[in-house]
Amino acid sequence: MSDFIQPIPEAIDLYEEGDLNSLDITQLGEYLQEKTYIPFRIRGNVYKRFSKKRIEKTSRELAGIRVRDHGKRLVSGPPFQAEVDYEKRRISDPGWKIFGILYEGILYQKIISDLVIKGGLDLKHCIIFFTNQLFGTWNWDNGRYHARVSLYGFPSLISITGLVEAPAKPKDFYLKKQMGRPVAWLKEEYQGRFLDHGDLRTTEVLKGYAMQALFFHLTGDPFCEDRDCRLFNSHWQEEVLHSQLNGRHDFCPRHDSILNQLRGRDR
C-alpha cells in the first residue's frame, strides 16, 4: 500500500518574505529535488505581484492578527493605523529585517494561502513559504500561544526567526537572563549550543524542515519519532541541532524507504 495520500506534486514552489539572508533558498531547493526527484521553483517575494490596493488590504489583515496577549486566544479587532502602516512598510520592502511581533499562525497561513493559491486547493504544487516573521499557535493544554518554527498545510509556513526563538535554549540560559545578564554575554557563553539570527547552519537545518513540509503534503504526517531523523519534531535547540546536523542518518529507514519509493516512481 502506498504511503502517499495525495498525488505526487508536479513541483515544489518556494515563496519568501523579508530578509532571509541566512537561507540559501537555491541550495535548499536543490536538496529537495535531489531527495525526491520533484523539481523546485523559486517564486520569490510573495507580495511582489500585487497591486497597491491589495497590499493595503493584506496590510490591514496582517495588522489584525497580531497576538497581543500570549495568554489569551486572539480576538481580532480593528488595528491602529500605525500598525497598518507598519505592515505596509514591511511587506513593501522585500529585504525587511525587523521582526518580533507574534502573529496568529493559522490566520497568517490563511492570508498567505489567499495570496498564493487561486481557485481552491492546489495539490499539484507543494507550496512552502519562508518568512523572517514570527508566528505562533494556541495551545489548549496550557492556554497560551507558543512560537513555532513551522506550520504545515497548504501552504506550509517556515519561519527562520521561529527557528531561533521557538525551540528552547538550554535552561541555564534563561535563568541567567532572568538574573539580568546581558543576552550578548550569554550568547558568547553558550555559543554553538543554539541557532542564532544569521547562523551559518540555517540553510542546512531548514532542509529538514522543508522535507517535513513535503512529507506533510504527501502523507499527512510531517514528523518522525526517531531523534536521528530529520523529520523529528524538536522542541529544544539541542534536539534541532542533533536531528538536523548530527543525527546518525539523514532519514530513518522507514522515511528513507518512502523517499526511495518516491524517487523510483514512474515519471
Binding site: 497580531r66 497576538v67 497581543r68 496577549d69 500570549h70 495568554g71 479587532g77 491602529f80 500605525a82 500598525e83 507598519y86 512598510r89 529585517k97 525587523i98 521582526f99 518580533g100 511581533i101 507574534l102 514570527l134 512560537a147 526567526t161 526563538e165 537572563k177 538574573m179 539580568g180 546581558p182 543576552v183 550578548a184 554575554w185 558568547e188 539570527h197
Partner: protein, 275 residues
C-alpha cells in the same frame, strides 16, 4: 590659592561670606521666577508627559529647533529609569546605533561586545538632562498628569495636571482641583504606564493592547518603528509605544528610548512644518 584663602578670611572677618538677603526676598525670587515661567508655559508648542530618556530626547530635539517645549514629570527628579540599568546596577547599555546619540551628547561609553555599548548611568542621564535644558526645554516636576484636554474631533490639545503630593493623599483631605495646560502637541513618554493613551482609552476614544510578555531581540526596532502619532495631537514615544501597540518586552537597553524620542521629535517637527 593664597589669594582665595585671603579673601575668605577677609569675608569671614566681616561676618558674611554671602551677600545678606532676607527670607522674604528668597521667597519672592522663587515665586516670581516660577510664576513667570509657569504663566509663559501654560501654553506651549509641545507638552511632553514624562521626563524619562525618550521624553528628554524628544524634548531636546524639538526645543533645539526653537520650539517652545515643556516636560511634565511626576517625580522631583528627571530622567526616569535612565539613572540605572538592569537589576539596580547603574550601568546603562545601548545597542548599535544608539551609541551615536551618546557620542552626540558627549557621554563616554565603552564597547561591551560587538554592537553593544555600556555607559555610566548617572553620567549618561545627567548629560541628557543637561542637553535638554541647554536646548531650552522647561520642566514642571512634581507635577502629575491627570487628564487630557480635547478639542474638535477629539484632538488632544493639552493636559490637565496637579501637584504630585496632592494626588498621593486621600481625596477627603485634598480636594484640590487640577489645572490645564494647552499645547499644539502632547507626547506620551510615560513608559509602560502609557498614562495619556490609557486616559483616552478610559474615555472610549482609543484602545490600548498592553505590552506583550515575550522577549525578542528586535523589540527595540519595533518600538522605534511604531513611534508616531497614535491619535490626532498625541505622539507616543518610548515604552509607552510598546504598551499602546502590545509590542514585546525588551531587556534593560536604552537605545530604543533615545531613538524613539528622536523619531517622535521628527514627527512633530514635520507636522509643524506642514501647518
Amino acid at each position: 590659592m593664597g589669594d582665595l584663602d585671603g579673601r575668605i578670611r577677609e569675608m569671614a572677618e566681616k561676618k558674611h561670606i554671602f551677600t545678606p538677603v532676607s527670607e522674604k526676598e528668597v521667597t519672592r525670587a522663587i515665586v516670581d521666577a516660577f510664576a513667570r515661567q509657569f504663566i509663559e508655559y501654560v501654553e506651549s508648542d509641545c507638552l511632553i508627559i514624562g521626563g524619562g530618556p525618550s521624553g528628554l530626547m524628544a524634548g531636546r530635539d524639538i526645543a533645539s529647533k526653537g520650539v517652545k517645549t515643556l516636560i511634565v514629570e511626576r517625580n522631583h527628579y528627571i530622567g526616569g529609569g535612565f539613572w540605572i540599568g538592569g537589576y539596580l546596577m547603574n550601568k546603562v547599555t545601548v545597542r548599535e546605533p544608539g551609541q551615536k546619540i551618546l557620542e552626540e551628547l558627549g557621554i563616554p561609553y565603552e564597547k561591551a561586545v560587538k554592537g553593544l555599548y555600556v555607559a555610566d548611568g548617572p553620567h549618561a542621564c545627567s548629560k541628557l538632562i543637561a542637553a535638554a535644558c541647554d536646548a531650552g526645554v522647561k520642566f514642571a516636576n512634581m507635577t502629575i498628569f491627570d487628564d487630557v484636554v480635547l478639542r474638535e474631533g477629539n484632538r488632544v490639545c493639552g493636559a490637565v495636571v496637579n501637584w504630585t503630593p496632592v494626588n498621593a493623599l486621600p481625596r477627603e483631605i485634598t480636594c484640590v482641583d487640577p489645572i490645564a495646560l494647552e499645547s499644539k502637541f502632547v507626547v506620551d513618554s510615560t513608559g509602560h504606564d502609557a498614562c495619556v493613551v490609557k486616559k483616552l482609552e478610559e474615555r472610549g476614544i482609543l484602545k490600548t493592547i498592553g505590552f506583550g510578555a515575550m522577549w525578542v531581540e528586535q523589540s527595540e526596532d519595533l518600538v522605534v518603528e511604531h513611534t508616531g502619532e497614535a491619535h490626532p495631537g498625541l505622539i507616543v514615544t518610548g515604552m509607552a509605544v510598546a504598551t499602546t501597540y502590545g509590542l514585546p518586552r525588551m531587556g534593560p537597553t536604552f537605545g530604543a528610548m533615545l531613538l524613539s524620542g528622536r523619531k517622535g521629535a521628527q514627527v512633530i517637527l514635520e507636522k509643524m512644518k506642514k501647518k
